[in-house]
Symmetry: C2
Subunit: 303 residues, 2 copies
């Protein structure tokens, strides 16, 4: 409840900030809840960062989980690139759905791998620490400043630099598709480069929110990329990095999980679609006890 | 600080409970902090489970992260089993260390894969919900009751059942090495079986805390398993599931991460050692701001 309220307020604030920053009209209803619901995490304390941040940004386990998946992904992408068989897109074909998916054949398009930026390519240690120390889950005004001026204070996710080198060496173009705003394109290009992730160029290898009129949905941008490239892999920390339908309004926690793991697409995970663990923020961080746990596993100790 | 204190109190309580339950002497200094520090998570609220629990037990993302790694591990183990080349142990050779590791050749021993139980094979949804709803991070007395009576209320981790079938079909023996106590062996055997994970038998394919005199360290049990089997894969959610040296007292957050990702063993991750994401509890959940974040990435917005 409180979280929902905070999200709504934050959404409004970002919509305003975003309008001012971009000097253009923003599709507020699209921008609002969906985009912001992905940014509400756990309340930090002054003594130490939230549990999820301790795991993701500090622990050996968090670093290993990232590097381990980057290694598997690089191996997959390299093998796929070297295989002479005709390839398919990993971007869902226009009009198809996660429970009845279609993937188009690539023809002779050049190969690409498409990544989310935040907590997939980029470890946002600078901004996450600052917001947590201020006692804030997420603050859109601070985040906007981070997009502009965070270069040099964000790191590459563990394992990303080595993996990107392997993929690029195999002839695969690396593209970022992120909900950072188009107004801050230069800041994000600089941030990616200074984290050691290489050159990204807006509207060429960097797709941002505001590039089209569909707000935080990445489907349109994915389609634009797939029109030019054979996208042999998608990577992200949230389901919206793969298909926007997973973010459909009103989808319960259980139904969202069911849709994302239904037999028609379950095999994509780890096999074209690569999901990085982010227990800090995003649409995964949602749900009361009865939504997270099922009634049939309810237990209590004997009295 | 408060967390440390809670851990100490909890440790004492468990040591007592454990003594009573087992009717035998327990090596209290070994059992205490190390074992219990791994169990202190984040404070839940009455409104919803902690953030980490929402991610791990409810979200599509948490389920996919587990299933994705189980798929990669099954593929690895199957390929390894079918390969006729002489194999090496993934258990560190006696006397060697993570920064100067040695792995012994297997000779003709039968193949095995060794798993941690909690949050690796088992999704402890029943106990985690109960403790969180009681406003508790972790309660050793409740946990002891869970080990005894949780069968049917714990689930298999997403992807585990399919992966174990693939590995067993390839002729690999599945063994659990867990810090559940030997006193509750039957409860844990029942819990694993009723979760659909198959038959585990104490001292044969199930190794428990109390099987030897080294408390929560799994090194001795790993050595006992490697004496009989060629352990081609280890899986767990905490570094102690691989090598006890990672749990050395006084190791800082940064040094622990450095040791676990040092060049001599970095390649093991995803390649013999498989680490599952658990942002809810364990030794990964530790550290203040200056331990989690480095000074060179400190950032603040321009005033």
């Amino acid at each position: 409840m409180i979280r929902g309220l905070a999200a709504s307020i934050a959404a409004l604030t970002l919509a305003l900030a975003s309008c001012a920053a971009q000097g253009q009209q923003v599709a507020a209803p699209v921008l609002s809840k969906d985009a912001l619901a992905t940014q509400i995490g756990e309340k930090p304390t002054s003594a130490s960062p939230p549990t999820g941040q301790q795991w993701l940004y500090g622990s050996a386990e968090g670093s290993i989980a990232s590097a381990q998946l980057y290694k598997a992904m690089a191996q997959y992408v390299r093998a796929k690139a070297l295989n002479r068989a005709i390839k398919s897109q990993t971007v869902l074909a226009d009009g198809s759905t996660p429970d009845a998916p279609r993937f188009e054949s690539c023809g002779s398009k050049p190969l690409a791998a498409v990544f989310d930026a935040d907590e997939t390519l980029l470890w946002n240690v600078g901004a996450m620490r600052y917001m947590a120390e201020q006692g804030k889950d997420f603050d859109p005004v601070i985040w906007n400043a981070w997009e502009k001026s965070g270069a040099g204070k964000a790191l590459a996710m563990p394992g990303a630099i080595d993996a990107l080198k392997i993929m690029r060496d195999a002839g695969v173009t690396i593209i970022a598709n992120t909900n950072r705003t188009a107004a801050n394109a230069k800041g994000t290009e600089d941030t990616l480069r200074m984290a050691g992730l290489g050159e990204f160029k807006h509207k060429d290898t960097l797709y941002l929110m505001g590039d089209d009129a569909t707000g935080s949905s990445k489907d349109g941008r994915r389609a634009a990329i797939a029109a030019k490239y054979c996208v042999i892999a998608l990577a992200g920390d949230q389901l919206g990095d793969f298909v926007q339908a997973f973010n459909a309004k009103g989808l319960s926690v259980a139904d969202r999980r069911k849709l994302a793991t239904n037999p028609a697409i379950a095999d994509m995970w780890g096999n074209g679609w690569f999901l990085f663990s982010n227990p800090v923020y995003g649409p995964s961080i949602r749900g009361g006890y009865d939504e997270i746990f099922t009634a049939d596993t309810k237990w209590e100790p004997a009295k």
